[in-house]
């Protein structure tokens, strides 16, 4: 059974200076969910989050929170709290006063506030930091304090806008695990914004892939990774081979002049399609043993695996394998029918993958 619907962004549109940033965006967020808005920079993620937080009014559409229309409710009256990208701590207050800020406004007792601060600092692994100045904390510590400051108010939803964006890789990974732990301990809804697909896949229950103000696909991380609905999603989530193909009939697709077996049906006959094959799904065999022959044109060692480029049929195939072949080696290419993903060609420009040159 699915959890109760908590937030509904209802056909939200927003323009800045005549430029449409969100176009009829409709999104449902469920109670206790870790939902991530994922997309390239400038696609409208922050705008969506800021509309949720009440910092921006949508031009059209409504924001429904727990059954109530809060579209015009100011941020200070909303039962959600935000963790901003960076530098949002109050610089002239110490850590304790930062965390107490919301509680004091709410008129909580000193004893209650003291307890809460202690609890929150423990939760973010910064016990004893009460009297420190935020200016003397590292980036990671600052973000933990920002999280502590938000959660002491016991919001029903925590909004996080690329909170780990300014941190280095190692710290970012540690913080990802901490955020998941926090979410489980607090039992509240997280709405998370990032442009980092790995981060999104690691942490989320639900990933919403956005591009140019549209939702491209929404689903579990597994769904998004294994069954991208269009070339944009496929390209954005990890590296992919996206090749023009023709669906000859059910279960037969022609790529680069060669007919491959696949498992998709219902596309009709001789229909142009996009074919997506993940680099780890391309199997290299001896020449003549695969569906088509090619030559290794590039190889780098990535630690866990080799990443190779194989030129075959006039296309540079991206291939990942634990076995490497030197440049110039002739190879055969084979792909399991299950690993061939067939997608309809985009109907509008908005679905096109950005960064894919035509």
């Amino acid at each position: 059974m699915q959890a109760k619907e908590l937030i509904h962004l209802e056909n939200i549109s927003k323009s800045f200076d005549g430029e449409l940033v969100l176009d009829e965006l409709d999104l449902t967020i469920r109670e206790n969910e870790f939902l991530t808005l994922l997309g390239p920079s400038g696609c409208g993620k922050s705008t969506t989050l800021r509309i949720l937080g009440g910092f921006i009014l949508p031009d059209k559409g409504r924001v429904i929170f727990d059954g109530q229309d809060i579209t015009n409710t100011p941020p200070n009256k909303r039962n959600l709290n935000t963790v901003f990208q960076k530098y949002s701590l109050f610089p002239h207050m110490n850590v304790e006063d930062n965390i107490a800020f919301g509680l004091r406004i709410a008129g909580k007792s000193d004893a209650y506030i003291k307890d809460k601060i202690k609890y929150a600092l423990k939760l973010v692994n910064l016990d004893g930091f009460e009297k420190r100045s935020p200016l003397l904390l590292s980036g990671g510590q600052q973000q933990r304090i920002a999280i502590a400051r938000a959660i002491v108010n016991e919001p029903r939803v925590l909004l996080l806008d690329e909170p780990l964006g300014a941190l280095d890789l190692k710290l970012r990974q540690d913080m990802q695990y901490e955020l998941i732990r926090l979410k489980n301990e607090l039992g509240i809804t997280f709405v998370y914004v990032t442009h980092d697909q790995e981060e999104a896949l690691t942490m989320s229950d639900t990933v919403v892939v956005m591009n140019q103000g549209y939702i491209q696909q929404m689903g579990t991380p597994e769904d998004i990774y294994n069954e991208p609905e269009n070339a944009f999603v496929a390209d954005f989530i990890g590296d992919s081979n996206i090749i023009d193909g023709i669906m000859i009939r059910d279960r037969k697709v022609e790529i680069l002049g060669v007919t491959f077996d696949c498992v998709d049906t219902g596309f009709g006959e001789y229909k142009p399609v996009d074919v997506v094959i993940r680099p780890e799904d391309v199997v290299l065999l001896d020449p003549g043993k695969g569906s088509m022959d090619g030559v290794v044109s590039h190889i780098i060692f990535k630690g866990v695996h080799y990443e190779m480029e194989v030129t075959a049929g006039g296309f540079d195939w991206l291939v990942q394998s634990t076995v490497g072949h030197p440049v110039g080696t002739p190879v055969g290419i084979w792909v399991d029918p299950y690993n061939i993903q067939i997608m309809n060609k985009p109907e509008s420009d908005d679905e096109k993958a950005v960064g894919v040159e035509e």
């Binding site: 200070n76 709290n81 530098y87 800020f101």
Partner: protein
């Protein structure tokens, strides 16, 4: 390599320029301690002119007028200027720079033109007096406040303000608790500059003052016209020193800022 000779020349040149700049004021200060009334004769050191200054009712009235006028004008200019800055931050870029240029006009405009303009306005609609002087001095001060507050306001980060709203603060409370402490150095130096400008203004005050009212500067002018009066040298010296102290404080406020920011940056690296 700069040779010793060159270094000496450099020092000497700078010293000479400063000497030329401040020689007149130096002479003024010396004269204010001269027991002889003649400007060219040294009659011995005395504090007499300062003492008689304090006993001169006319002078004391002018000092009081100046202080009241200058303080209220600077205060009102600071409030107006700061509010204007806040208004400007939410404007579009174009309107913002348009307004910035307009606010610079009173600063660049010839004082005499501003003075006559305000005089005409008040003569036509209200009559000259304390109010017209106050209005003129506020006009004088606002651009300096804006010039000092605006950069500070642009530096403050919006996230902190928004975080305050997010945590339940009303916009006014968030401004008072979060934004104001951040821009306070700008507000303070704006206030002090407005105060200084207003205190040492003569031209605009001269045109907008009502009959029988004098500020320190119009008072000095009147007295000096009547003839040599070393009391006025003493008064001028005090005025100079007061303004010097104010400018020094403004400088301190503005210089402390980058150092504080540096210390912050260092702290971040260390942590």
């Amino acid at each position: 390599m700069v040779s010793r000779g060159q270094k000496f020349l450099e020092r000497f040149y700078i010293g000479f320029v400063f000497f030329l700049l401040y020689a007149p004021i130096l002479i003024l200060i010396v004269c204010s301690f001269n027991a002889s009334k003649a400007r060219t004769v040294w009659g011995g050191f005395t504090f007499n002119w300062y003492v008689s200054l304090a006993q001169n009712e006319e002078v004391m009235a002018a000092v009081r007028t100046s202080l009241v006028l200058t303080f209220s004008a600077a205060l009102i200019a600071t409030i107006l200027g700061t509010l204007a800055c806040i208004g400007m931050t939410v404007m579009k870029k174009n309107s913002q720079s348009a307004i910035m240029s307009v606010t610079n006009i009173p600063m660049l405009n010839a004082d005499i033109v501003t003075g006559i303009a305000i005089m005409l306005l008040f003569v036509r609609f209200a009559g000259l007096g304390m109010m017209s002087m106050l209005a003129a001095h506020i006009t004088l001060g606002v651009p300096y406040v804006i010039l000092n507050v605006m950069p500070k306001l642009k530096q403050t980060n919006r996230s902190a303000y928004e975080a305050a709203l997010d945590l339940g603060a009303t916009p006014t409370y968030a401004f008072r608790k979060i934004v104001l402490p951040d821009i306070m150095p700008g507000v303070l130096s704006g206030f002090l500059l407005a105060f200084t400008i207003s205190l040492d203004d003569f031209v605009i005050t001269y045109f907008t003052k009502g009959p029988g009212i004098n500020t320190i500067s119009t008072m000095i002018y009147q007295q000096v016209r009547r003839g040599i009066n070393p009391e006025m040298y003493a008064l001028s010296t005090i005025l100079f020193l007061v303004i010097l102290v104010f400018l020094w404080i403004v400088n301190r406020i503005q210089n402390d800022e980058p150092q504080a920011a540096e210390a912050q940056a260092k702290g971040k690296v260390a942590a």
